[in-house]
């Protein structure tokens, strides 16, 4: 909200040091978002008086003048010194009061005033015309000011344009600060200063016209639902002349960025900004029926009801909106948000119906949101307008309308206030207890009782002695809907007492230790392992394209339904991801398109599976990674191999080791089982019977669908499954003390025989003495080995834990192993 300090200072002393004032505002809860000095463009421009005027020695049309600028120019002796200025205007004489732009001024059009010489005569500034100052179109000569104009006054001050306007962030709990008067109260509480509320004097000025038709016989008000409209008041002002506002009124509104419209509308805006009361002025004659009666009905809008609002927009209303209506015309205004075009005040208007009311906060806020129509009124109603004292604020408005438009305020027969007032729901007054020891205990500081009382009173509370000397009885003001509970008062006292005065401490408390959960510790291991494998952690969007799984060719089996956003930012991000891989593929593509060919990424993040009939989706955390290119570019001493299936598998093997996953198996996945993977380079990962996830090379078509270059090796694991399978530690195995014997053997087998099968055979045949079998070569050669055959060479390590093996023992075991493997797999030993 914009606050003019000039306006504010009518009600309270405003601190001179703006910087310090802003700091204090910031600390006490009113954020300062901007400070604007409206007189800045008149910097170095002052009122002046012509002392002498002589013909320029070298020109017929130029004058050499000396100009008194008072203290705006001081000589070396510290005394005011007139300026010599060469001037081309013809409309002035010595003794005239004028406006002078001194050296350093900048006139509109970025025209900088400098010391200059005009035909050899020094000129220390410029005497200005109204047009040169941007103050009008008059350029017949320089501006001549009245004879009583002061000399040497900054032009901004002389014109009254010297104002500072603060742009304030008022928190949503403080509707009272959305007005100059309310803000004056806040400043008073901030500095312990007294202030004057303007509403009383203004309301007192209202005079009632007892000759006119009484307002209560002419206007009837019906409120359908007091929850929607707790209070509605109307006044009638007759005989108004709609015209431009007087200067002072227009200036006030202009200063805070409001465009003056006419005297009636400007007064309603003025009261809104001054007192925080939204008002609406209707053209009374457009509301009345054939008998000259106006029947105002506040009711729910009908579904589909139409209203053209003041901004000229045709609005279609819904039943949760509230309207002001008459039986004849239907809706004439959108309650609390905006008036209707039909009944607005125009130049022809003479009789006015002035509405001052309160409307339900929530509904007003929803209405303005749903229509995309946020007005100064709706902004205040959605935060809460005090239903108490509306009559007073309406009287202040009526008096001012009468004053600026020449109208008269109609009297009423039922009261002496000239008002029709329906107030069916009165907001409660809160009587609160303030326990001083509890407050001080919770803040952690001893705040003196007298300071507490002073702060509360200045905020508008009534404070009296409580039940005992440690308590206060506080009546919260109704304009502070946020003060309903004792704690609300604590906040007020703390912020104005000063949070900076509270000494910092750390919580005590015995028996408290910080622990990490098992899942987090396992996650640390996972992160550390993946990084040690050379993968870089990234984060991608949790949002996904609805077509992502289809693009990826990934089966939706077991992934539930996608979580669909009702209001996505765009179609590409309209569901929540069911797999992390599409996001990672987008990053692979991003990198490849930016010339980065070697990509090693992983992400640990949530995926979402919805199900029909279930409110919230299932969330599962996944560990996913992608590898494209190689681990690095070739260097002088190393050439990293291009990534393939086995790089992905190696990462998983490291994870399995670090997490102590028992009985890890890689089971080949068929094209049907994993359509997103390249058949033959795809495996499911199991630990015991638990499926952990998959690893493989993504299907070239899937990679292409994401505009990336294949091959891309990927894996996606379920975090919960990893954590569950992970054992607390690997068991200790004795370090061998007896020597081992290594025997190499190459088996020629059919292509279909897997390494896993070979290992199973060898370990069952080798028994206890076989310590390790390491595959060191796989060799294919049709001529030598035959078609569909491969040679698998293993280094077999034999060792006994309790003795040195004899060569006979080794030979016997090895022979038996070879025989069994050959028998079980059809292998032949390669010679």
């Amino acid at each position: 909200m914009k606050i003019s300090l000039k306006w504010l200072s009518e009600y309270i002393d405003v601190p001179q040091d703006i910087k310090k004032f802003c700091d204090r505002l910031d600390l006490t809860g009113t954020g300062v978002e901007g400070v604007e000095k409206t007189g800045d463009m008149f910097d170095h421009i002052v009122t002046a008086k012509v002392l002498t005027k002589e013909q320029h020695p070298d020109s017929d049309h130029l004058w050499v003048t000396t100009v008194d600028v008072g203290e705006a120019n001081l000589g070396e002796n510290g005394q005011p010194e007139p300026l010599q200025i060469v001037c081309g205007a013809q409309n002035f004489n010595a003794g005239d009061h004028i406006v002078t732009a001194m050296v350093g001024a900048t006139l509109p059009g970025d025209f900088k005033i400098k010391k200059s010489k005009l035909r050899g005569v020094v000129s220390m500034g410029m005497n200005c015309s109204a047009r040169e100052l941007g103050l009008g179109n008059d350029h017949d000569g320089i501006m001549i000011l009245p004879e009583d104009a002061p000399v040497g006054m900054p032009l901004a001050d002389y014109l009254g344009a010297g104002d500072t306007v603060l742009d304030l962030e008022i928190t949503p709990n403080r509707p009272d600060c959305l007005s100059v008067a309310g803000f004056a109260r806040e400043v008073g509480a901030m500095y312990g200063k007294d202030w004057t509320h303007p509403v009383y004097a203004m309301a007192e000025k209202m005079e009632l016209d007892t000759q006119a038709e009484p307002v209560d016989t002419q206007v009837e008000i019906t409120i359908d639902d007091p929850v929607r409209c707790p209070r509605y008041t109307a006044r009638v002002i007759r005989g108004c002349k709609v015209a431009p506002s007087p200067d002072w009124l227009a200036e006030r509104l202009t200063a805070i960025g409001q465009r003056p419209i006419n005297n009636i509308v400007d007064v309603t805006n003025y009261i809104l900004f001054l007192l925080g009361q939204p008002l609406h002025s209707f053209d009374l004659d457009k509301l009345t029926d054939a008998n000259g009666h106006a029947h105002i009905v506040v009711r729910a809008a009908e579904e589909g009801e139409k209203l053209t609002t003041l901004d000229g927009e045709d609005r279609t209303l819904t039943s949760d909106m509230t309207v002001i209506a008459t039986p004849e015309k239907g809706a004439i205004a959108l309650a609390g948000v905006m008036g209707g075009l039909d009944t607005e005040v125009t130049e022809e208007t003479t009789n006015i119906l002035l509405e001052a009311a309160t409307f339900e906060a929530g509904r007003t806020s929803r209405t303005s949101r749903n229509l995309g129509l946020i007005s100064e009124s709706s902004l205040r109603y959605e935060r809460g307008v005090d239903d108490h004292d509306i009559d007073l604020r309406s009287a202040a408005a009526a008096a001012l309308i009468a004053e600026v438009s020449g109208g008269t305020v109609s009297y009423a027969t039922v009261n002496d206030q000239g008002i029709v007032d329906v107030w069916d729901q009165i907001s409660p007054v809160h009587n609160l207890e303030f326990r001083i020891p509890r407050f001080c205990g919770m803040m952690g500081a001893d705040i003196p009782r007298e300071n507490i009382v002073d702060i509360l009173v200045r905020l508008g509370c009534e404070v009296t002695e409580g039940e005992n000397e440690e308590t206060l009885a506080v009546v919260a003001p109704t304009f502070r809907p946020d003060l309903e509970r004792e704690i609300d008062l604590y906040e007020e006292v703390l912020r104005l007492w000063g949070m900076d005065k509270i000494p910092p401490t750390l919580p005590g408390g015995r028996m408290r230790v910080g622990v990490r959960s098992n899942e987090e510790r396992k996650l640390d291991i996972i992160n550390n392992t993946l990084r040690a494998c050379g993968l870089n952690e990234t984060v991608t969007y949790s949002f996904a394209e609805p077509s992502d799984l289809q693009k990826l060719h990934m089966s939706t089996e077991g992934l539930g339904l996608p979580v669909e956003l009702i209001n996505p930012l765009n179609a590409d991000q309209s569901v929540m991801r069911q797999s992390i891989i599409p996001g990672l593929l987008r990053s692979v593509s991003y990198n490849q398109n930016h010339g980065v060919k070697n990509v090693q990424l992983y992400e640990v993040g949530t995926v979402f599976f919805a199900a029909e009939g279930r409110k919230k989706p299932k969330e599962r955390r996944k560990v996913a990674g992608v590898l494209a290119g190689a681990m690095g570019d070739a260097t002088w001493n190393a050439t990293p191999a291009a990534f393939d299936f086995f790089d992905g598998k190696g990462v998983i093997e490291n994870l399995a080791r670090e997490l102590a996953l028992p009985k890890v198996r890689f089971k080949a996945l068929s094209a049907e089982e994993a359509p997103h993977l390249q058949p033959g380079r795809a495996a499911e990962i199991l630990s015991g019977g638990t499926v952990l996830g998959w690893v493989g090379e993504l299907h070239p078509l899937a990679v292409k669908a994401y505009d990336a270059d294949a091959p891309v090796v990927a894996f996606e694991l379920d975090l919960a499954a990893l954590v569950k399978s992970s054992e607390p530690a690997r068991p200790y195995v004795d370090v061998p003390t007896f020597p081992a014997v290594t025997m190499d053997v190459a088996f020629v087998v059919d292509e279909a025989v897997t390494h896993e099968r070979m290992m199973q055979c060898m370990s069952s045949a080798g028994g206890k003495l076989l310590e390790d079998a390491r595959l060191f070569d796989v060799y294919r050669n049709e001529e030598r080995l035959g078609k569909g055959k491969k040679s698998m060479a293993y280094a077999l390590v034999y060792r006994a834990a309790d003795r040195t093996l004899t060569s006979e023992e080794v030979d016997k075991t090895h022979e038996r192993l070879v025989k069994k493997v050959c028998g079980a797999t059809g292998a032949e030993v390669r010679g």
Binding site: R512, N536, E537
Partner: protein
Amino acid sequence: MAITDELAALQESTLADIAKAENTEALDQVRVAVLGKAGTLTAYLRSMGQVPPEERAVVGKTVNATRVVVEDALASRKKELEAAELDAAISAAAVDVTLPGRAQQMGTRHLINRITDEICEVFLGLGYTVAYGPEVETDYYNFEALNAAADHPSRSMQDTFYVHDLSGDASKVRGESDVLLRTQTSGVQVHVMEDQELPIYIVAPGKVYRRDVADPSHLPQFNQIEGLVVDKNITFGDLKGTLDYVCKKIFGEERKTRFRAHYFPFTEPSAEVDVSCGICHGEGCRFCKGTGWLELLGCGMVDPNVLRMSGIDPEEYSGFAFGLGVERAACLKYNVPDLRMLLEGDMRFLRQF
């Protein structure tokens, strides 16, 4: 010629050969030729039986003496040659140490998680436990239980992502849903208060979502770290002391904090915390927009309504809560010019951290 003369000659020529040997290999050949199985000196030793008995003592002594001399000469020459050869090998093996090393590539932690780790680590040291909550929440946990008014503007479709409620329940507000992407990690507070024993000391890092179009300073998906303490006799001073300590640990001991009163529905009193600008140290510069301070987080004492809704008696217990934007902390620490880089997965960005 007498044998002793022969031996003297052999010794002389052998010593000359030893001195001439240019490397250990040549030296070994000399050794074998003289002392090997078929060596010249060995032959004398072998033929001692043929020497007449009266000369045997003298000859034997001479042969042995010759052997000692030869062996000594061999040993010392060997030492010399070995030293020279090692020197040669070492100088031949010298490399340009400025050539790149042979390193296994280490992966990197994402900047946001790196900072989250740092912050959680500080809180672990203060005796806090790390907690997590779901990213898709119900209105109750994201708003209602946190005291947000039913019509709070942050609930609007412009600010909050809503998801289709598949339970069949009708939404309270037209067009909205009871299910949404959490807009704050504060919902974890409620889960923890419902589920955990008192006292509570937790931090809850996690992703949150707001309906902001991605631009250099906004992301629709970002990260917060929520903190919650509920215990007996917790004071606003404790809140100040805790956050001051944490800011100093994260940004540096020389940094100051400042508490500005503010409003949040779920805390009262509420404050925003600024940390002094690390570039100008509070003087005011472009980075801090001339204020000397950088806005860091929101915090406050837990509102009694929030405690009560979770079944905690606010007369007996009090607490504080805070929420910190991790991206904000990242920007303050690293001056990242465009937040979107955090979600692009650009290797050139990721590998900086």
